[in-house]
């Protein structure tokens, strides 16, 4: 039974975080390291042709270039066996976080609305950005690193996302031309979230920021019944 009031500090046993590995994932180890090393959870890899996720509490789709992404980012990944399992897991309410390529895959798979287009500047962009957590107004600094991160959806969808409070993160300094500065969104049930910036690259002071922990901890929080949104989880 999940406790009614969530407190990470008193949450003693490790959660099992499944990190999906596509052949071209290249942030899989970074996500694994952040959850297992920095946050002390039990992270494990799930190979892309696995039809089942095993017993996991939450799933992370990491960054990279799943199957090379020469066609369109995430366009092939959505057909992989593991994504069928992820769809099922999400439908049952399991928390799913897609980072960068993971966000692109969630969008291609129809788990999140919209599309991620080539950056407005047409070039890959790697830099630190400032994000605003929409529910709390909290500002977070972490890196982006992508060539196709310009969030696009038709106006009606954008309006709906905003009306339902599903725009979770916005860029303060939009690096890619995303419509309405959208950096991260969640699904209607609020258990699937996708974002272009990399919280797993901002999990230690040595790397320049620990703000990413706010996002990663919100995934842990969601396992025990809280919605998947950084609001309300403080970064101590």
């Amino acid at each position: 039974m999940p406790p009614s009031s969530f407190d990470l500090v008193n949450w003693n046993f490790p959660m099992k975080i499944g990190v999906v590995v596509f052949p071209g994932s290249n942030c899989d180890h970074d996500a694994w390291y952040a959850f297992s090393h920095t946050l002390g959870q039990q992270a494990e890899f799930i190979w892309h042709d696995s039809p089942s996720l095993g017993q996991v509490d939450a799933v992370v789709l990491p960054g990279g270039f799943a199957y090379g992404d020469y066609l369109r980012c995430g366009a092939i990944a959505k057909f992989s066996p593991v994504m069928a399992a992820v769809r099922k897991f999400a439908a049952e309410g399991g928390p799913v976080l897609g980072i960068c390529n993971g966000f692109q895959i969630l969008v291609e798979s129809g788990l999140l609305p919209g599309a991620l287009l080539k950056n407005r500047g047409l070039k890959f962009v790697c830099r630190e950005v400032t994000l605003r957590v929409e529910t709390s107004g909290q500002l977070l600094r972490m890196p982006v690193a992508h060539g196709e991160g310009c969030y696009f959806a038709e106006d009606r969808t954008l309006d709906q996302l905003e009306a339902e409070g599903r725009v979770v993160l916005r860029y303060v300094d939009n690096p890619n031309g995303s419509l309405r500065d959208i950096a991260g969104i969640c699904n209607e049930a609020r258990n699937v979230m996708g974002m272009m910036p990399h919280p797993e690259r901002a999990d230690e002071a040595l790397l320049g920021s620990t703000d990413g922990l706010v996002i990663l901890k919100s995934l842990l929080a969601s396992v025990v019944g809280q919605t998947l949104s950084p609001a309300g989880v403080s970064n101590e």
Binding site: D30, C126, R201
Partner: protein, 722 residues
């Protein structure tokens, strides 16, 4: 195409004791090309220092290996892809990254950092802008997809690179001592396994193309450039590292320049064995390829593995998991021959050792003065005011921020980057240890054009100073020697002098050369590039918060460790001031006192690791004035007093580091211990940089103005000319 000379052909006949067939001639031609055999440079390269207690593997393997303690090691090397990048900038640069990455992971190391040294002609020419954009996109495309952070580098513009851009890529990987693999075909009867991408017709004769000059026909060489697939390389990386863990692999080598030819004969030669293969078994993506084409193809993302007989299936299983071809194409034999069959019929039969190691060795004439593109005596000089000069230099293409370039590279993937592009040295931690690797990539052809030997020493000193400024101890080096046609004595003299300078400095700073690359024939229509050695030097440090360039707080003492130096006109002709403000070049590069330099480096390492300063930045291009401006990048400025005008502000004398500190006494004490100067030159303050000399204000600029000048200059130069 540079074919075998008559003398070389005679040598081939002597080795074979018969007339070679067409395929054999082709095999000898690539293996004995300058690119593969170093036939013009080898006798001089032998003079370089290559040993230290830390060096586990020196030159001769795919990459050098250094012990970093705790049972861990790093493999690193630099390689050029100059010729392909001129013909097809995007693929040329992309496959340059791919090639050096394979050199690293074929040794068993996982690549954890890449740096690039780039040289282009001036950006006012459309072709140079196109080459720059193509090269940067190519590096970005390949490195980002592969998942290795591109953490630093340098980009320089000179008109000598108009027809000969330089693309030198440095890569570094980490692993444990017991994970090191070699390219050796040991164990008679062991299977020789081909893995990775299929073989096509791309890149045939790439190595020999890279060994000749360019002329009007060069654009027609585009088919000689390989096409890269970074996703395939990523699969190959993971599959190779996983297959190595099975214990079934006894030797492995990538197929780079000269493809299957080079990997087979080198693996056999190193092990003293023979290798027999049948080309009919080689996975091919084109139909009807001849033995000649298959042997010489430089298709990317391929490896050759020698496995333990009977354990092939363990290797095959791993490659199947990653969706890659893995096919036994032959076996190791005891007769020392490279025997190539096609459907059983012998198409080439050459002794491995003679082919790989007995390439002709040339002591090319060099008993003339190195070619100098500038006079020794200074022309009549009329210095301009310091303030507009500073702004002009900050906005010039060599000195300005290269953000437009490095922002296209993923420099944070793998979450090890403690200091990325834009600092004095890049720093990457090794998560499994308390050790971080600092690395610096540097060259200065302007200095080397004025004096190849002194210029080379200055480059080594600069790299070591970069590392020391972030608190790291320099331990080993790799070098890329980019020169013109060695058959011209005045060019060969540049090469010989440069190697002498590198040898002297690397010996002195205790940074042995563990490997590298020589790129000759960088000439188009008879015009050679300036002597352009590039050094990549690595240092070790304890993992911790990195020292950075910008001033952090107001009211801190600004100190110049190493002192103001003693500038004069003869040593001023290679500076950025001479280039940008005066548009002239003359004299000699800055004077280097290596003993003093070493003491300054020891001092700054002690100061930085002891936590006695808040910021540190070594002086280089543009001298003190530019260094001060760069220290203002965080918004905090300074008021400083200097003992002279333009010469004092802009000379590029080495052995100097600018620091800001709350404890100047501690800095002075350490400086005194090391017998180096440490001058208090001013105080940090809000929002402004002011430089005074004898109560005359030379520079008085808002920090935001300095930032503007540097920050968007490159982008503006690319845009305004479109």
């Amino acid at each position: 195409m540079s074919d075998l000379t008559t003398g070389e052909l005679d040598k081939v006949r002597a080795i074979l004791k018969r007339e070679p067939n067409e395929t054999e001639v082709a095999i000898f031609t690539v293996m004995w090309s300058e690119h593969c055999s170093y036939k013009s440079s080898r006798i001089h390269l032998k003079t370089l220092p290559t040993k230290s207690p830390r060096v586990l593997v020196g030159p001769g393997e795919n990459a050098g290996i250094i012990d970093i303690g705790d049972g861990w090691a790093i493999a690193f090397k630099i390689e050029s892809h100059n010729h392909p990048s001129f013909i097809e900038p995007f693929q040329g640069a992309a496959t340059g990254v791919g090639g050096i990455l394979r050199d690293i992971f074929t040794m068993g190391a996982r690549p954890i950092a890449v740096m690039d040294s780039l040289r282009f002609g001036p950006l006012d020419q459309a072709r140079n802008r196109r080459i720059l954009e193509g090269v940067v996109s190519g590096i970005s495309h390949y490195g980002n997809c592969f998942g290795v952070p591109t953490v630093g580098g340098e980009t320089i513009f000179e008109s000598c690179y108009n027809g000969n851009p330089l693309v030198n890529v440095f890569a570094l990987g980490s692993f444990k001592h017991d994970e090191i693999f070699f390219g050796r075909a040991t164990g008679i009867g062991n299977p020789v396994i081909y893995v990775g991408a299929k073989t096509g017709r791309d890149g045939i004769h790439g190595a020999s193309m890279a060994s000749s000059e360019f002329d009007e026909e060069s654009a027609g060489k585009r088919p000689n450039v390989q096409v890269g697939d970074p996703f395939m390389e990523k699969l190959l990386l993971e599959a190779c590292l996983e297959a190595m863990k099975t214990g079934a692999i006894v030797g492995i080598q990538d197929m780079g320049a000269a493809g299957l030819t080079c990997s087979t004969c080198e693996m056999g030669s190193r092990a003293g064995t023979g290798v027999e293969i049948d080309l009919a078994l080689v996975p091919q993506r084109a139909t009807g390829m001849t033995p000649y084409e298959i042997m010489l193809s430089e298709s990317q993302e391929r490896m050759l593995i020698v496995a333990d007989k009977g354990r092939e299936d363990e290797v095959f299983a791993v490659f199947k998991k990653w969706g890659l071809d893995a096919v036994t194409i032959g076996a190791v034999t005891d007769d020392g021959m490279l025997r190539v069959r096609n459907h059983g019929e012998i198409v080439a039969e050459i002794p491995n050792r003679e082919l790989a190691d007995e390439a002709p060795l040339y002591d090319r004439p060099h008993n003339v003065a190195p070619y100098r593109p500038a006079p020794m005596a200074a022309p009549p000089l009329s210095f301009k005011d310091a303030e507009p000069s500073l702004l002009a230099i900050l906005a010039s293409s060599d000195v300005c921020s290269k953000r437009w370039i490095w922002q296209q590279y993923d420099y944070t993937v793998r979450t090890n980057t403690l200091a990325g592009p834009g600092g004095d040295a890049a720093i990457v931690r090794i998560k499994e240890t308390d050790t971080s690797i600092a690395m610096s990539l540097d060259g200065n052809a302007r200095y080397c054009a004025l004096s190849p030997r002194e210029g080379a020493k200055l480059i080594v000193a600069e790299c070591c100073r970069n590392l020391s400024t972030v608190g790291a101890l320099p331990v080993a080096a790799t070098n890329n020697l980019n020169f013109g046609n060695p058959e011209r004595p005045e060019i060969m003299a540049q090469l010989v002098e440069t190697i002498a300078g590198i040898g002297e400095a690397c010996r002195f700073f205790d940074t042995p050369i563990t490997g590298g690359n020589v790129s000759l024939y960088n000439e188009t229509l008879g015009e050679a590039i300036w002597p352009s050695p590039v050094m990549g030097i690595v240092g070790l440090m304890k993992t911790g918060m990195p020292m950075t360039i910008p001033f952090k707080n107001e009211s801190r003492t600004v100190m110049l460790l190493g002192g103001f130096g003693s500038p004069d006109e003869i040593h001023f002709g290679g500076t950025q001031y001479a280039k940008v403000v005066l548009n002239k070049m003359w004299g000699l590069p800055p004077a280097l006192d290596m003993e003093y330099e070493k003491r300054v480096q020891s001092a700054i390492r002690e100061i930085v690791t002891g936590g006695h300063v808040e910021s540190a930045h070594d002086l280089s291009d543009g001298g003190l004035a530019v260094a001060l401006a760069e220290c203002c990048a965080g918004g905090i400025g300074a008021a400083v007093e200097v003992p002279g005008g333009v010469l004092e502000l802009f000379h590029e004398g080495p052995s100097r580091v600018l620091v800001s500190t709350a404890t100047p006494e501690a800095v002075e004490r350490i400086a005194t211990d090391h017998q180096v100067e440490a001058v208090r030159i001013g105080v940090t303050m809000k929002e402004k940089l002011r430089i005074d000399h004898n109560s005359v204000t030379l520079v008085d600029l808002a920090v935001s103005r300095l930032h503007e000048a540097r920050e968007n200059a490159l982008e503006n130069q690319l845009k305004t000319h479109v």
